[in-house]
Symmetry: C2
Subunit: 367 residues, 2 copies
Amino acid sequence: MIFEFNMPVNLMFGNGVIKKNSEKFKLGKKALIVTGRNSARLSGAFDDISDVLFASGIEYVLFDKIVSNPNLAIVAEGTKFAKENNVDFIIAVGGGSPLDAAKAIAALYTNDIESIDLILKKLEKPSLPIIAVPTTSGTGSEVTQYSVLTIPSMKTKKSFASPWSFPKVAFADPRYTYSLPNGITIDTAFDAFSHLLESYYSKRSTLFNDVIAIEGIEAFAQCMENLKDNEITKTTREKLMYASCLGGITISHTGTTLIHAMGYSLTYFRKFSHGRANAMIMAEYMKFNEASVPEKTKKVLNLLGFSGFDEVEDYFGFGNDKIPVLSDEECKMFATLAMGQGSVKLNPRLVEEDDIYNLYRKIFGGS
Amino acid sequence: MIFEFNMPVNLMFGNGVIKKNSEKFKLGKKALIVTGRNSARLSGAFDDISDVLFASGIEYVLFDKIVSNPNLAIVAEGTKFAKENNVDFIIAVGGGSPLDAAKAIAALYTNDIESIDLILKKLEKPSLPIIAVPTTSGTGSEVTQYSVLTIPSMKTKKSFASPWSFPKVAFADPRYTYSLPNGITIDTAFDAFSHLLESYYSKRSTLFNDVIAIEGIEAFAQCMENLKDNEITKTTREKLMYASCLGGITISHTGTTLIHAMGYSLTYFRKFSHGRANAMIMAEYMKFNEASVPEKTKKVLNLLGFSGFDEVEDYFGFGNDKIPVLSDEECKMFATLAMGQGSVKLNPRLVEEDDIYNLYRKIFGGS
């Protein structure tokens, strides 16, 4: 048994954690709040944060221009704004996009590099400290060292990872997801499940990481009926946030595998949400890997309450009436792009570009 | 569901982790190695560490005077030695005693206070960074913020805890326990189990902490037969170290409860090892708390393979033919001392001094 456990994020989970732990905001004198146009305010997170900052005498400036799948231009703009305002720490509020963008801004602020170098080079200096406040339950970014950015020049999403990109503190308050539309709740829940599944399957998986993955999969399983019935209770939202945090902890140790590598093109070219893109690949992924991880596959099917892969496909397809049809050329291009993702190497079964092409054909090749 | 997870220690677990991760030793230019007279050398840890330091060009000085249950005098002496040698980080090697002493020295080095103030005051400055290398599987100190010191003026052991006392890196290599005599292996394994049990029972226990505690209890359960048969295989030693690390992670979140509070006097006055002291209290502790945590009690009995508390008492008494007899006066004094431990407040069932007195009478009162 060999494993590493490294989770330097102080995770505060539960209703009301921000106001109960205001002292943890004292990471500097002036914060940059990085968020999207609406979610921070709608969720109630922004009010809690600004109350706490006001009471602590901490100034802040707001950068609320982050949209889904943030690209290099927006993080460069955020960094410029942060420098103009001489901030000394960052509070990231929102789904994966603001959290990932904040990690990029925090790194660009202290490292004198171009934004593309986040992907191409190794960082040399510690980032600005980050407090992460998720308002969705999917990304797990609040407890990871990863930042996924859209790189138009590479026609895909790429991630960078640095030990300095772990947030110092994460406040995971399920109440901030109460205002989330059910569609986004489902999409992001599928992303969280994908993290847990891919980490559990990963070549880098370890005994201890598996314990956390299984706990997360169990939590997700308890939410499945609610998600499908489109009746998402507060208890379910709490469990989803728990599953999402555990998913983040697991992938921070193992990375993702083939699902994420294959899903990115469906988001980049076909505009599917990240979670939905992953969901469409789920069943074939499990089938493809079954021979390499038979016991784990059995265990996951069992925890989800399924007797076979058809039920996996059915479940993760609910609410999605627009499975895309990809041309042979697209399947080839997507396969080439997926092979360029490092996560492919961590797939439990050895993957060749042809395998990925065949998987795309099988799922999206039309009849 | 409300919980905090905070485990800032980078834990490297498994055979050979030190040599495979030598870059993690680069925390400074000159290390103080804190250890006991023999264990670092016998275990093989010292050789691995000195090789890695030599290859990295890191100097070190050795302070190998730590004995069991270190007191304030020895940590003061270690601090003086560290200052004379201008070290900038500490490598702690051994059982709980060197690890806990190292945390005290690391704090005294940077905070200008008397050693007793470790217990009485709040630290104001970060400690020297610590690398922890356990050579027993019991304390879990390699992944906690706690340091337990013997305080002669208070006639007991007391702990201090600081977020700055978490080691930066812990190298848990089961091979370093191969040379450990079976008696110490058993004693320390009982300490590890005690951490897992007390954390699982603690008022501060949380859903996520319980997952880790249960995993640790399962690992311990797999070692029980081997321990009792006095045939301790390498696989068992690996599982014990795993259980011990998980025990440390759990108590770093919850603290201990009544067993530790009651056990200290058996060590201080009657010279029982810490683990054996805890073991003698185990069964009555579970019985005392059963009504407050019935489901958890059932689960623990089940995981250990026991149908009742008599079997718990039998098991944790094996190899111990000298259950002490305490006078009524001793029971009273020990109860008063135990009530002075903060951990009593975290016991699942409300504890009065009389309860503790009665427990001591029941276990040690003679016939």
